[in-house]
Amino acid sequence: MADQNESIPAQEEAAAKDPAAQKNAQLLALLHRLFGAETFTDVEEPYGLLTATTTRERIHDIVAGLQQDQELQLNFLTTMCGMHFPEREGQELGMVYHLHSLTQNIRLRLKIFFPIADPVVPTMTDLYATANWMEREAFDFYGIIFPGHPNLIRILNVEDMDYHPMRKEYALEDGTREDKTDLFFGR
């Protein structure tokens, strides 16, 4: 919380100069007003795109609220995808949502993180038809479960695959080789 309070004057100063930053400040104010400032953590603007982390308990309300909102009309779900950070204990898996307002041309990136042992995230299929395959992809790649999804089965990989290949523990190359170390050949 302390960080947020300190960053507000800096944001206001930046907003006066740059129309994109001004829009982001307007969007952030809207988010805080609709859902409360404590809902969002790690608010930043990497490369001009407002990014905030929230919780999986709130994400459905937030996306639904923004879809209904008439002020900024963030009612276009550009994309959503899973992520995996094995070293962050209790926050290993993540989902990233990119929302876009076609009338105001503002983008918003929302992130949620949750433990890999409990990879359950509310579905967005009741709000956006486009979320259907995106969630199936996230399930396929990362094993994230979306209760309420109409047809949560694998989409790109074969049905009988028994792991979720985008998780970081599955190395792309044969793990038994010793002549190629990560030091010289990629990650």
Binding site: Y47, M83, V96, L172, G186, R187
Partner: protein, 422 residues
């Protein structure tokens, strides 16, 4: 019960099937239902009329489609996973193979994403060169789509004419990058080489000859009674549903929404050019066809403007850390050798951060979401592939239509298997 003897009967069955779908499992595989005289038809995966590997299990009532279950992933190559182990410059060939009808757009979109991450400013000449190549790619993409739509409605001639023009575009690619289909064009920081005099000559000659061919193609199709009977009011989608389904590009514009990334978030100097965004009204196959035709004319306008005002100057950024030095210098100059080695090994200084960049691809908003942890490869790279996102609406668009309508709908949506499956 008689099935589709009357239109009302068909509508009733479709209504019932919809209700049934909503009630049970909307996407359960369909089976032959002999009580209602329904047939299950396996369309694909390798059906010549689908132009790619897509499977649709359709439940048919005579000629009408009652439900469909699409299966995709037949050419899934795990690009997002592979990209996690490739330095940035090695990811360009992966992007080639997404929408392989317009590879240069994918290449440039990827380069721009990396440039955004690295903070590299590309000189004006390179930006204009990119615009010319991207618009050429858009034209070739739309030519394929509209030409094949002609084939699917029984008119092969138009396709043959347009393939000839696409061949000329590929010759221009060849002069610029050395490759034709999977172009691997441009580099992070600009272009790999300047336009050669031959490339410019070929481009100018093509710009002179192409409009006549395009006009002839339009004359052949636009008001053709047979063609219009096949495509008007076929496979329509409302603007509201299209937005809900995440449509972008020509398919969204055909439904009447004027969203174009080139205008809304201009990149690579698109703000310097004057062009119009064509929109349709109904979002049906005919609208998609007409929107693509008009976009070809607008792309020609952009190319002409860019070529006329092509600025002098360097064709790549002065960014030795990221842009390969000339090969001759590598042999003679120590710094050049060091940079060459470091870039080839992927040892570039990438900042920690995340960036989303999108370009207007042939089929819509092609987005790259890149998460960098400062390593030599992306930590996570997600491609927002427009095909993948809008193809899920296909079932909804063809339910209630005939099988032949489903084929032209698929064709006019321009679903490219490489982009769909990535």
């Amino acid at each position: 019960m008689a099935v589709n003897d009357t239109l009302e009967g068909t509508h009733k069955i479709i209504e019932e099937a919809r209700e049934q779908q909503a009630r049970i499992n909307p996407l359960a595989p369909t089976v032959n239902d002999f009580n209602q005289e329904l047939t299950t038809l396996n369309l694909g995966p390798t059906h010549p009329a689908t132009h790619g590997i897509f499977q649709n299990i359709l439940q048919m009532d005579g000629e009408r489609i009652i439900s469909g279950v699409p299966t995709i992933g037949y050419i899934h190559r795990a690009f997002e996973k592979i990209a996690e182990r490739r330095p940035f410059y090695q990811i360009t060939p992966l992007t080639d193979r997404m929408n392989y009808c317009s590879s240069p757009i994918n290449n440039m979109g990827w380069h721009m994403t990396v440039e955004k991450l690295l903070g590299v400013e590309v000189p004006k000449r390179a930006q204009y060169m990119r615009v010319i190549l991207m618009e050429l790619a858009r034209i070739s993409d739309h030519l394929i789509c509209n030409g094949i739509l002609g084939v699917d409605t029984g008119a092969f001639t138009g396709f043959l004419y347009l393939m000839d023009e696409r061949e000329k575009i590929y010759e221009i690619y060849e002069e610029v990058s050395g490759a034709r289909l999977t172009t691997n064009m441009g580099r992070v920081g600009g272009m790999e080489r300047d336009f050669t005099p031959v490339a410019l000559q070929k481009l100018r000659a093509w710009l002179k000859s192409f409009p006549a061919v395009m006009a002839e193609f339009e004359k052949m199709f636009n008001r053709n009674r047979i063609f219009m009977d096949r495509v008007v009011d076929v496979g329509g989608i409302s603007a509201e549903r299209a937005l809900n389904y995440g449509f972008t590009g020509p398919n969204l514009r055909a439904a009447g929404v004027d969203y174009d990334v080139r205008v809304m978030n201009p990149y690579s100097s698109y703000q310097d050019f004057e062009f119009e965004i064509p929109v349709g009204t109904k979002g049906d196959t005919y609208d998609r066809f007409m929107v693509r035709n008009e976009e070809i004319w607008q792309s020609l306008r952009i190319i002409n403007q860019a070529l006329e005002n092509l600025p002098e100057g360097p064709y790549h950024a002065d960014a030795p850390h990221y842009y390969l030095p000339p090969k001759q210098a590598v042999y003679k100059n120590m710094e050049a050798l060091i940079y060459h080695f470091k870039i080839v090994m992927g040892e570039i200084e990438a900042p920690v951060g995340e960036v989303y960049h999108s370009v207007e691809g042939g089929n819509g908003e092609l987005g790259f979401y890149l998460v960098s942890d400062g390593g030599r490869t992306p930590y996570r790279l997600h491609f927002r592939r427009p095909c993948f996102i809008y193809y899920q609406a296909y079932t909804e668009m063809v339910v209630g239509q005939t099988l032949s309508d489903a084929i032209v709908t698929l064709s006019s949506m321009n679903v490219i298997a490489g982009e769909l499956d990535a």
